[in-house]
Point group: C2
Amino acid sequence: MPVGTLGAVKGVTPPALEEAGAAILLANLYHLTLRPGIDVIERLGGLQAFTGWGGPMITDSGGFQVWSLGALRSVDTDGVTFRSHLDGSPVRFTPESVVASQERMGVDIAMVLDECPPWPIDPAAAAASWERTLGWARRARQAWRREDATGLFGIVQGSVYRGLRERAAGELAELDFAGYAIGGVSVGEPSPERRTVVEWTAPLLPADRPRYLMGVGYPEDILHAVLQGVDLFDCVLPARNARHGVLFTREGVLKIKNARFRDDPAPLDAECGCPACTRGSRAFLHHLARAGEITAAVLATLHNVRFYLDFMAGLRQSITLGTLSDLAAPRAARSIPYEHRSSTQDPSAGGLT
Amino acid sequence: MPVGTLGAVKGVTPPALEEAGAAILLANLYHLTLRPGIDVIERLGGLQAFTGWGGPMITDSGGFQVWSLGALRSVDTDGVTFRSHLDGSPVRFTPESVVASQERMGVDIAMVLDECPPWPIDPAAAAASWERTLGWARRARQAWRREDATGLFGIVQGSVYRGLRERAAGELAELDFAGYAIGGVSVGEPSPERRTVVEWTAPLLPADRPRYLMGVGYPEDILHAVLQGVDLFDCVLPARNARHGVLFTREGVLKIKNARFRDDPAPLDAECGCPACTRGSRAFLHHLARAGEITAAVLATLHNVRFYLDFMAGLRQSITLGTLSDLAAPRAARSIPYEHRSSTQDPSAGGLT
């Protein structure tokens, strides 16, 4: 799911996003609450009418963004109060208000309010945070009104502690959400830790509901999670890396500003159908990126987003054909050179995205 | 002709530019010489292969950009030496080198090297500059080799002095160029002065060759020039204004960041077929522009470029139907509220574009 924090992927128009193969768009309740405000979106007919995105939409609850505010927020049992990173004005989120805001925007998938603890965190603090998140999930479930219009997803937390993850999966399953997310990953933990969490948690989530791994990630991590039964992903990596000239291709990563691309007539990726690959060359994107042209960001984003969507389409096809496990080895091996790994939800990079 | 100084309109991919209705793209020899260099473009198969633009291409000679460098350049009879605005390295342009560079890039239309004098300029200085430009035009004509591949346009200079303009038009006509441009306008002179220059010059240019008014401009100025027989225009106004949130519509200008658009569900222009108008609302573009999202620049540019191309298509249709003079009054009247008039070639705004 491409990330359109404020209602659009940075640099990409709705038709261009569809052409890249996107079927669903993720926006962010925290950001939309601050700007333009839920009232505006509701008056304008909901998030789809407002943004012009024709397909389904999902909003993250903003729990991660609120937690990343650090000293600007205070948590209590009932909810969280924080100051806008834009103008310092106070805002209050409760489990109920977060569900209501997403229902008012008419999103197809809403996420419960959760705490996204940092990594590392000691077991006692993790347990306290986990307890609060579970309590909020119960209240969100109670507050959920539009079952026919908006699907509400629960979020499994519990950091790297197996007992917490397993109990959360079980308790949330009993609450009968429309889908289930694994949250609290991609917060700086090493890849093996993240994979272990996925391996513990995913198999315990109800098999008849979608499973969503939040904020992950690199293709090899996505493939690993798909093999554990995860269905949905979101990540700012394709778009953020694109804006920094880091391009994903079937042969590995290209840092397009590197001097070796100055004369390179090849497309970024010979198998890609994006406008950068079908019409331009590595040399042209190198030229535009070096010159700081916004067209470089636009073309690079269209490429990376399409690369990811092609990758996901390939995974779906492999599932249909029953060849997913064959796909594993070569894909993973080829993707070793991927670089620029960072917290995919790092609020310090390019604004609170 | 949309302006893609470095080979692409800022924020617009080649397919999106075609979809907006563009048939020809203008790039700039000065900028391409400095970055990526003519050698690179030639090695990569020419400017069209390099940029992925499928239609015809024209390059401005860079005369204007060189003149805007002020103290960084020195002119002699043979040519001009200047320092790159990027790294200070010295570059030399002569009438012959400028033609050769454009031929090496394989452009469809090349422009001669000219002097673009400032406004105002006293008659003696204007005459001296004019003399040099004419001498350079003769040398460029001599240097032009690829008549079947690249059409070379002469450029009429002469500031606001009728005698100079008329004599230049006559002398250039004798040199038998593929087309003729009116240069040295949009350099700060008032609109009536510019129109007078067009009225003197355009009728004297050969009727069987295209006439090109450089760097103009606002729709009402374009309409005026078309009525004088001008065929081609280029201007950075649509794209530059778009990046500043100034949108052209059939009902006048919208400054999209204005608070009155916060809740406005209407498209920018109900008659426009661009992605911003068919899919989004004024409220959504207001939201993205206020947030400083590059998607705002992308959508706004696609809109303004399409608005101009629709306007030009309307003029062509009126010419075919013989109704051009009927079009004059309402178009001109409606376009009075256009604002943000500035030198369309002002190098201080957004880089040397």
